[in-house]
Structures are given as structure tokens and as C-alpha cells.
Amino acid sequence: MDITELTVHELMEKLHNKELTTTKITKAYVDRIKEKEPEVEAFVTSLTDEAQAKAEEIDKKIEAGEVVGELAGIPIGIKDNICTKGIKTTCSSRMLENFVSPYDATVTEKLNNENIISLGKLNMDEFAMGGSTETSYFKKTKNPWNLSKVPGGSSGGSAAAVAANMVPWALGSDTGGSIRQPASFCGVVGLKPTYGLVSRYGLVAFASSLDQIGPITKDVKDSAILLNIIAGHDEKDTTSVDMEKKDYVKALKNDVKGMKIAVPKEFFGEGINNEVKESLEKAIEKYKELGAEVEEISLDIAKYSLATYYIIACAEASSNLGRFDGIRYTYRTSEFKDLKEIYKKSRSEGFGAEVKRRIILGTYVLSSGYYDAYYKKAQQVRTLVTNEFNKAFEKYDVILTPTSPTTAFGIGEKSNNPLEMYLADICTVSVNIAGLPGISIPCGVDSNGMPIGMQLIGNKFCEETILNVAYTFEQATKFRENCKPEFKGGAK
């Protein structure tokens, strides 16, 4: 048995039957990281020694009959923009290269309370700005299905680590598709929860009105298990919503009979790769076979959403990233005359090109003379997008689209053309604009063997619905049993 092939719910079962120990599981992952990390380069900070020590500690507690929790001893990987006390949180930026979090994010605290063991911090686009993980200051993460291709982004390290079996599951964050798109590129499951379901306390802010933390997992059941842990109101995040706790695992009924699924034709038009389209059409047929009612609708919001997204996200980023000033906890330039020069030189040297581009764009759209034409208009379009979704959800339970217009592209292919890179987010951003939940699950591979992702969008706080619809497809198609990453182009 290859331990690292197992899902978290399978690991849990084997832990409870005493077939496996925490130490054995952790050791298997540490060995796997040793083997695959040189090729994939998913980690910014690896915590393999600490993880093994923690595993031994937990095994002792289990032996002594102490209560340690159902998930005790399960390892995890954490995106490097989520604070972890005493451990570096770099956001894959030179600006935070040496930043050690003084406190835990709420989600980290929740993992610790469950005795879940961190294997390390995972690579990302710098400050989560990008769709390929190429803007990381430290390294370029490779796609485990083909090492010459990007893993997607910005949670590319998280998705690649899960796909390469270097962690059983991971946390990512999603501002415009940063969980779903890399999940799609790497053939794993990525869930962006409803805005406000998961606390953002301790998540380094990119665009505060759009950011959400969510799970990247091997299958849908694991996604539900991890969501059960991280969801919930937090007084430290005033945008987190106080509502009754749900059990997302119980929502997995493996039944979509009578479920109403809408397919917006605009998401299958120009720019969507043919093989992606064909694969999604097959998935739609599958849902019909399974008893769902599928109808084509018009939802002409994709382009407006994308433009709105880049205006709002950059505006919020230009303000949020003002705190990185070279004074308290960031990179500081070595030579300066006065305070203003510390700010300017530290920021110019500490931020990479894409981050600077977005700060400048954000400052521009907020500056007097352009505020009304861009920022205010974008906020109105945000209302329009939300209204259009509301209309659709009056009639339908779920909206089905591709996650990304293409499968994973080559490393370096789009890095010189920012606009082209932005256009790759066309299917995912509207979900953040409206604050909805969305999940990406694999639905096939293209002729080059690269995974294709299907996105299922739900109404606010209807994670149970999209998880069940995703689960039912997964159980009927068994993607993981038929397709596995092959590390093409690597040293065999």
C-alpha cells in the first residue's frame, strides 16, 4: 500500500483501525517530499523534521488513551500567505522573505486544535497575484502532470503538492480563482467557500472584499471534511458570518435526481478551448444520465466581471499593500537618506514586477479624475453581476462552467503578457465578485493528458449543494482511479 496515494478519509479509517500510525503516515509523506520536491518545487518552507516529532508525540498520546481528535496526526500543507506562529509566512515575496508570524491565523489555530500536522508552507504567486505561480520570488513550481507546465495559481504550490502526493490535502486562498484554477490544472478538487464562511484573520490581505481561504484536496469528501474544520464565525474577522454550523460530509448524498443545473452559454464561447468544451459537454451528459435537469441559460457577465475584478482587486491591493513600508517587519533597503527613501526603495526592491504593476493600476483607478470612470463603475457592475446570479439561482440549484478556458499552459508562455494572463481568469472571477461558493473538480484530460476542470457554482452558503453535485459526479466517473500525474519530462 502506498500511503501517500490515500485520501484523508481513507487515512482516518486506517488510523482508527490501528492499521496505520501517525508516525508511519508522516514518514511516508516525508519520504515522498524528499523524492518529488526536487522536481516539483512546491514548498517555500518545509517542516518535515518538526512534523515527524509532532507525529511521535501524537502517537504516544493515542497509545496512552488521551483524546486527540478524529483528525489527529493527519498531515497538511499550508499556502504561504496564511500565518503560522513561529514559522515564516513569506507570501512568496522578497518583501516578507524573513517574516516570522507572531500569531496564528484562525484557520491555523483550528488545524492545531485538531492536532493536524503541518508539513510546510506552500509556494504561490507573489502576494497571490497571478495565475501560474511564476511570480513567486523564490521558485517556479512545476505541474506534476507535466513538469514543463505551470501548476496554475496563485495557490499553485498547494495544488501541485496535493497532486504529487507530497501532502494529503492543503489550504489555499482564492481571490479571483486562485484555488479553483490551480486545482483544475493539477487534476485535484478545489473549493472556494462563500465570502464570510471562513475567517480571514491571519490571511495576508490581497483584496479584502474578495479573498477566501479554502481546501485543496484529492476528492470531494476530503473537501467537505476540511471545510467542516475551517468554517465558522470568528470575532476577529467582522466579515465572517455568524450562522449555524453545518456538517458538510452529511451533505454528500450521491444523488442529483431532480437537481436543476444551469449551463450559461457565454462560458462556452469564444476563447474556450475545444477539448475543454467537449469534456464539459460529456460531463453535462453524465449529469443528465444521473437524473439532473440541465438547461442552457444566458448569463452574460464573464467579461464585465473580469474587468470589474481587476479594477476592484487592484484598488484594494494598492491600499492593503501600503503596510509593507520597510519599517516594522518587512524587507528594508540597505541605503537611504530619509524616511521617504526607505519607503520607496524598500517597496521597489521588495516587490516583484506583477505586484508593482497591480499597485500602480490600483492607485490609478482610485486617483481623482479616474475614480468615477473605473472604481465607482466597477462597484456598480458588481451589483449587476450579483443581480444576474440571483436571477439564475431563483430557478436553478447549480451553475456549471469550465474552471479555466484551457488546460495548464507552458512555463514562461504567458509571463510577458499580463493581460493575456488575466484573461485566463475569465471563468472564475465572477464567483468572487458576487461572493458565491464555487468548486472545481476534474472531469477529464485533454489529448496531451492534462487535466480539465469543471466548475460548479452555488448560491450563497449553499456549499452543501455544490459539494453533493460534485461528489455525485466524482462517484460516477472515478477520475482518480483512471488518471494519475506522470511527472512527464522529469528525470525517471
Binding site: K85, G86, N98, F99, V100, P102, Y103, Y195, G196, S209, L210, E235, T238, T239, V241, Y304, L306, A307, T308, Y310, I311, S318, G322, I327, R328, Y329, R332, K337, D338, L339, I342, Y343, K344, K345, R347, K356, R357, I359, I360, L361, T363, Y364, S367, A373, Y374, K377, A378, Q379, Q380, V381, R382, T383, L384, T386, P418, L419, Y422, N432, A434, G435
Partner: protein, 95 residues
Amino acid sequence: MQVSKEELLHIANLARLNIDENEVDNYLKNLEDILNFANIVNKANVEGLDITIGANEAKNIFRKDEIKMFEDNEALLQNAINPEQNMFKIPKVIN
């Protein structure tokens, strides 16, 4: 949407960023491409629509104004560059 070099440098200064002379053209081109695309928002029919400022219902969340001490000064200051007597050190601001 045409952005001038002066405008770009002014915006960069507001954002406390330096742009090297040899980067100016590239920034201008990228900015122009992106703004031209972003202009789509001006074609949307938003007449009579309110603005949305957050993803959820905008309402105030109140709490008592109580001081909560963060005790771990050491953890905070471990990230500071040359701290002195538990303080951050910066160059002289007023001459």
C-alpha cells in the same frame, strides 16, 4: 486609454514606488492594455444600480472598546530591523 509618462511617474510616487527610466515604456504599454480592457465596465448597463462595496450585506459590526494586550513583544520585534529598547528604529524624520 492613453496614460502619459508624467502621469505614470506621479501615480508611482503616490504609491511610493520607483520606476526606472528603462521600465517606463513597458509599464505604459501594460497599463494601457489593461485599462483598455477594463473600459468594458463603461459599456455595462448599470443605470440606477447602487454600488456594492463588499460581498455581504453592508452593516456595522459593533464591539466593546476594550483593550486587549498582545503580550508577546518578542515575537513582534523579531521581525524588526535593528530594534532598540523594544522599539522600531527609523531615520530622523524632522530636520
